[in-house]
Amino acid sequence: MPHFSSQNISVEQNHVLMIRMDNAKIISHILKAINFKENSVFCCTKDGLKVTVEDMKSVQLNAFIEPGIFQSYVVKEEEIKFQLNLTVLLECLNVFGSSGLQSGTSPALKLYYNGHGTPVSILLEESGVITDCKIRTVHFDPVLDYDFGTSNVIGRIIMSSECLKEVFCELDSTSDCVQFSMSPDSANFRITTFGHSGTYHVDIPKASDVIESLRCTSPVSFKYKLSLMKPSIRPLGIAQKVSLRIDDTGLICFQFMIKVEDNHNCYIDFYCPADVDFEEDE
């Protein structure tokens, strides 16, 4: 067990956030999947850690890690928010090597934050070797709060993440967008691309064993820019299950369930707005 308690005892009173984990690989495994942009906003509350990465004020990935996953999780304020460079954080967390979650040894982690303007301190220990990092934080930019109310959801699917990942990876890259369609009358969930060679459809039957549940109140069909969908592929790769929800404005929310330790799950959310054809509005 690491002996951190002997260091900096006097400073501990100033920490507004303190996290201790025996296996830092868990947090780096999850955060790596949302690292499609460098900047991330951390929001820590008593319910857990939420890390948000956003692009172009539209596409957003959020990672949720509940307190039960940490060995110790202390938050001294109601809500602590800061922004830091996620790529740098991941490099620090992987300083002892970035082998997978299951393999290799697991470095122990201690993370401190003393409030606005101070850096995030990270202490990593593995086999007696200790690494000390300080990462600068900046005042966070406000992130979009996608209020995905259940009342507006038209279509919802829970399915195997692996299957959806295979479909996504094979989508025709010459197509600008991808269309998701489902309807109460149709037996399938259809994913369509419109590429240079022609139109390709993938039909996943509702009755298939890869779909756990499909609920659709009325026909829904929306297009999404393929380039905006790309950030969803990494979380798809590490998740076991994914739920897709589409609301009446075409906003799609993917929720990925990732199993980390024996009975713990972490979640990643992905929001993407539909590709709207502006010419139609004029």
Binding site: C163, E166, V167, S197, G198, T199, Y200, D203, I204, S208
Partner: protein, 404 residues
């Protein structure tokens, strides 16, 4: 046309398409009573390849496209088409994922829609539909007769692959020297390259290393490795033997393979014309051009063998007795959309050699490397349509509205 394939056949078809994609840019699809034929010709028309899939290859096969809405036997046709290799390759791109998930494959050329429809029925009930746009075209045909060749030998494709491993990966052409009891391979060195600065590789294969060996004519043949490598990639993956038939220098080489009664494939590759000692400059240029087969009455002993001719079936009359110089003009002006006119530089009908030389009126200036030069000279033959020149500035109908 509609046909149904099982998982193993889909993989073979995918590999065939990968092989064809390395040779040409357009895939010609021709359903016949006996099965499906896929063909391609490369851009410089120096390689032709045809895969024939026979009826037992399919779970179900019908070469006729019918009117599915209102059955009318008079409307039934056999649709022949071609499409860009990129399109069809995007469907069959990953053989690994096809292997993992595809259970059956349906390919259709419906009468009522101008689309090639491919449907993969995959695991978990998932169905993938691919609707590809195609172009109608005349068939591409290379006439050759397998029995007419002087020399034939065959061995496993793995053996050829291993032999070619001895050659540096940048080797582009290999010379095959046939003798009564052996085949000698050496890398072909361009005249333009300083012989003292390049690596020579030579491999000799004795007669008994082959499954079958029958050389009637001792000769030297040089052709490009690129297509051979594509052929071997296919043949090796399916552990097939490869037959090689050679005539003489300048004559095309024929590689063939087949699998029982399921499928067979033929690959006709152009070879370099031999150097002539008599006429120094023109022969040098002849040799440097990557055209080929001009049959020489004197060189080949068994000239009764029909020399392969590549022609557009619909225009067989125009092909005969056309020499290189004049082919340029007719191709460009006659039928601009006729992309499969193949009576150009490489696989042309034989001419007596002396006539050939006169036509080699090369006014092209700096000599680029062989292949590039040939393509440069005959670039107009390879364009689908003639490009219109910009009109001169005289305006016949001015704009009715001024510019903004």
């Amino acid at each position: 046309m509609k046909c149904l394939l099982d998982a193993t056949s889909v993989k073979v078809l995918a590999r065939a398409i990968h092989c064809l994609a390395k040779i040409g840019d357009e895939l010609h699809i021709e359903p016949t009573e006996n099965g499906l034929t896929l063909k391609t010709v490369n851009a410089s028309k120096s390689a032709y390849s045809a895969f024939n899939f026979h009826l037992p290859f399919f779970l179900d096969f019908c070469h006729i496209s019918e009117n599915t809405i209102q059955a009318d036997p008079d409307e039934d046709t056999v649709i022949k088409c071609k499409l860009p290799m990129k399109s069809i390759l995007s469907v069959f791109r990953s053989i690994g994922s096809l292997e993992k998930s595809v259970e059956t494959c349906n390919i259709m050329l419906p009468l009522l829609e101008a689309l090639l429809i491919i449907e993969f029925k995959c695991k978990h009930g998932i169905i993938k539909h691919f609707n590809l746009r195609y172009f109608e075209c005349e068939s591409v045909e290379a006439e050759f007769c397998k029995s007419g060749y002087a020399s034939k030998f065959s061995c496993s494709s793995r053996f050829y692959s291993e032999t070619l491993l001895s050659f540096h990966s940048s080797t582009q052409e290999v010379t095959w020297s046939l003798a009564m009891d052996q085949v000698h391979l050496s890398n072909h060195i361009d005249d333009e390259i300083d012989p003292s600065k390049c690596v020579r590789t030579e491999v000799t294969l004795a007669k008994d290393e082959f499954v079958d060996f029958n050389v009637a004519l001792c000769t030297q043949v040089t052709f490009c490795l690129k297509e051979l490598r594509a052929i071997l990639a296919f043949a090796e993956a399916l552990k097939l033997d490869l037959d090689c038939r050679m005539e003489g220098a300048g004559q095309p080489v024929l590689f063939s393979l087949e699998k029982a009664n399921l499928y067979s494939a033929d690959f006709l590759l152009a070879t370099l014309t031999p150097v002539l000692d008599s006429t120094a400059t023109s022969s040098r240029t002849t040799n440097n051009q990557r055209k080929n087969y001009v049959s020489t009455q004197s060189d080949v002993s068994k000239h009764s063998s029909p020399v392969p001719v590549l022609r557009d079936k619909a225009d067989s009359r125009t092909v005969s007795c056309v020499n290189l110089q004049t082919t340029l003009v007719p191709i460009v002006s006659e039928s601009p959309c006729h992309t499969s006119r193949l009576d150009s530089l490489s696989l042309i009908e034989p001419q007596p050699f002396p006539a050939m030389e006169d036509d080699l009126d090369l006014e092209i200036q700096p000599p680029p490397p062989k292949r590039a030069r040939a393509r440069y000279i005959f670039q107009n033959c390879l364009k689908a349509t003639q490009e219109l020149r910009e009109r001169p500035c005289e305006v016949f109908a001015p704009d009715s509205e001024g510019d903004e």
